[in-house]
Amino acid sequence: MTHAPSLSPTSAAPTTAAGFFRRFRSAPSEPHFAKRVQFSSPFLPYFFLAPQMAIIFTFFYWPSVQAIQSSFYLEDPFGFGSTFVGISNYTDVLKSTEYLGIARFTAVFTAVVTFFSLAIGLLLAVKADGVIRGNATYKTLLIWVYAIAPPVAGLMGMMLFDQHIGPLVKFVALFGWDMKVGLNYTDTATAMIIVSIWKQIPYNFIFFLSGLQGIPVSVREAALMDCRSGFRRFRTVILPLLAPTAFFLLIINTTYALFDTFGVIDVMVKDKAANNPITLVYKVYMDGFRGNDLGGSSAQSVILMIIVFVLTIFQFRFIERRVHYS
C-alpha cells in the first residue's frame, strides 16, 4: 500500500504489503535469522534501529492511536474539550446516506480504475513484448506518465475536459454528449476515472512487461509447437505464468484507486465536493479539515484502516491460494 512510499509513483510506489507477503511467503515462520553468522552486541542493533523506530513511533503509531482514540469522542466545536460518546461517531457515519453513497461510488470507482488500468497495461505489455522493431522506444514512451504526480495529471485532465477549450469535450459533443465536468456528477466521475486510469497504465505496463520477459524462451517455443492459436496460447500458457504479477498488481492498483487518486480528485473537484463524486479518503479529508469534525473524521479513518487491513489479508489468503506459482 502506498502508504508511504509505496512507490507509487507518485504514487507509484508500490507499497507494499503485497510485495512483503510475496517475499516472505516462503519462510514466514522465521523472518529474522537470515544469517548463520551474526554480530552480537548488547546495544549496537538498537543504535542502528533508533532513527527508524523514533520516526515510526512519532509519525505512525502516535497518530494511529490518536485516530482510534478520538473516534470515540465528540469534539466541542469551540475547542472546549471533548466528551466520550462511545461508538456513536461510528453509528452516525454508517447510518448517513451521504457516507453510504460515497462508499458506493468509491467501490465502483476502484473496480473500474483497477480493471481498465490492468487490462490496458496488459494489452500494451503483450504487444510490446511481441514486436522486435521499436521495442525499446515503445517502452520508453509508454512509461513516462508514471513519473507524473496525480494532481498534475488532474490538471491535465481539467484542460482536456475544459468547457471552452477541451478537445475531449468537443469530441464527445460530436456524439451528442454535452459533457460538463465539475457541474454534472456523472461527467465529473467519468473524467476522474479516465485520468486515474491514464495515470496508472504505465505502472502496470512495467510490471507486466517484466513478467512477460521473465518467461523462458523454451516455454514459449514449446507452447508455439503445441498450439497455433495465438490467443489460446496466451490464455493457457502465458496468462497463468503472469498470475503472480497480476495478483500483486491487483492489490497495488486497489490501493492506488482508494488512496493515491486523492490528488486527481482534489484538483478536479476543486473543493466543491457538494455535487461532485468523491471517494472515502477525500471525505475523511473534507470532514476533518473543512468541516472540523474530528470525531467523525477519525471514525472514518478507522473504518478505512479496517477496510485496508481486511482487503490485504483477504487478497493474500484467498486469491493468492488460487494463483499458480511456477
Binding site: 512507490l7 507509484a12 510485495g19 510475496r22 542493533p45 506518465v145 507524473i148 504526480a149 491535465m156 484542460m159
Partner: protein
C-alpha cells in the same frame, strides 16, 4: 504473420498516442498566449511565446500573498525530493543492517512493528498526523514536510531483502580479519549496495517530488510550497478570471513533471530494475 505484426504496432502506437498526446499538447499549448488559447483552444504546434511564458512562471511573484515564484517552488520540490530520498536510504539501510546482521532480544517484535507500517497508508491517518505536527510545532518547516513521510518501511524491506542475498562468507571472512560491525558496514555493505542505493534513490526522489496530500496539509505559508502543491493554488486563482492563464498553468504543470520524467527516462533501466525487483 506480417499482418499480425502490423496490427501490434497499430495498438502500440495508439497506446503511445494516448499516453504521450496530453504531454505534447501541454508543452505546445504552454508556448501560446492565454488569449490565443482562449480563442483557438489547445494546440499541437509550438507558438512563439515559449521563453516569455516560462520566464514569467519562474520569476513572477504570485499566489495569494504575491510572494512565491516558480523558482522557489521548484527549489522546495527539490529539497523535498532529495531530502526524502536521502533520509529514506540512511534510515532503512541502518535498520535493515541491524535486523539482518545482529542477534538481539527484541528482534521479532521490532520486525513486526516496522512491518505494520506497510499496512496503513498515510491517507487514513491524515488528521491525527496533522495534530501531532501541530503539537510538535513542525507545520511550515522542511522537517515537518520530509520526516513524517519517512515513517514507512518500504525501504527497510528492500534493503533487508538485499542484505539477505549477500553471501554469509563475506561476514565470516571479515570477522576473521578482525572487522567490527561499523567497519563491515562501511567497507563491505555500503560498496556492495551501490546499485541498490541508486535504484532506490531514484524511485524515492520521484515519490518525494510528487507528494501532494502531505505538503497540502503541512504548508500554509506559501514560501514552503512545492510545485505539485502549488498546482491547486493556481487553479483556485483562475476561478473568476476572464481569460484564465492557461499558458502559465500548463507551463507550471510542465515544470512540475519535467524532473521526474527526465529521471525516469535517463535512468530507465535502474528505475525498472529497482521497481520490479524490490517488489518481488
Amino acid at each position: 504473420m506480417q499482418r499480425a505484426k502490423l496490427f501490434d504496432h497499430v495498438i502500440l502506437l495508439m497506446g503511445v498516442f494516448i499516453m504521450i498526446g496530453p504531454l505534447v499538447v501541454a508543452l505546445m499549448t504552454s508556448s501560446h498566449e492565454a488569449a490565443d488559447i482562449h480563442r483557438n483552444g489547445l494546440s499541437i504546434l509550438p507558438g512563439g511565446h515559449f521563453v516569455e511564458t516560462y520566464q514569467t512562471v519562474l520569476t513572477k511573484q504570485g499566489g495569494f500573498t504575491g510572494k512565491i515564484t516558480g523558482l522557489r517552488m521548484m527549489m522546495n520540490s527539490l529539497i523535498l525530493g532529495l531530502g526524502f530520498a536521502a533520509g529514506k536510504i540512511i534510515l532503512s539501510m541502518l535498520a535493515a543492517y541491524a535486523l539482518v546482521y545482529f542477534r538481539f532480544r527484541f528482534a521479532t517484535i521490532t520486525f513486526w512493528m516496522i512491518f505494520t507500517t506497510l499496512l496503513l497508508p498515510l491517507e487514513v491517518r491524515i488528521l491525527p498526523s496533522y495534530e501531532v505536527m501541530n503539537t510538535l510545532h513542525l507545520t511550515n518547516t522542511y522537517t515537518g514536510l520530509i520526516v513524517p513521510l519517512l515513517a514507512s518501511a518500504t525501504g527497510t524491506f528492500y534493503f533487508r531483502q538485499f542484505f539477505k542475498s549477500i553471501p554469509d562468507e563475506l561476514l565470516e571472512a571479515a570477522r576473521i580479519d578482525g572487522a567490527g560491525p561499523f567497519k563491515f558496514f562501511i567497507d563491505v555493505i555500503v560498496p556492495l549496495s551501490k546499485t541498490m542505493m541508486a535504484a532506490i534513490f531514484i524511485i524515492m526522489f520521484v515519490y518525494g517530488w510528487n507528494q501532494y496530500l502531505w505538503p497540502t496539509l503541512m504548508t500554509t505559508d506559501e514560501s514552503f510550497f512545492t510545485l505539485v502543491r502549488g498546482i491547486k493554488q493556481i487553479l483556485l486563482v483562475w476561478v473568476g478570471s476572464n481569460i484564465p492563464d492557461y499558458n502559465e498553468a500548463f507551463a507550471l504543470a510542465i515544470l512540475a513533471m519535467l524532473p521526474p520524467v527526465m529521471i525516469v527516462m535517463i535512468f530507465q533501466r535502474w528505475f525498472i530494475k529497482g521497481l520490479t525487483e524490490s517488489d518481488k
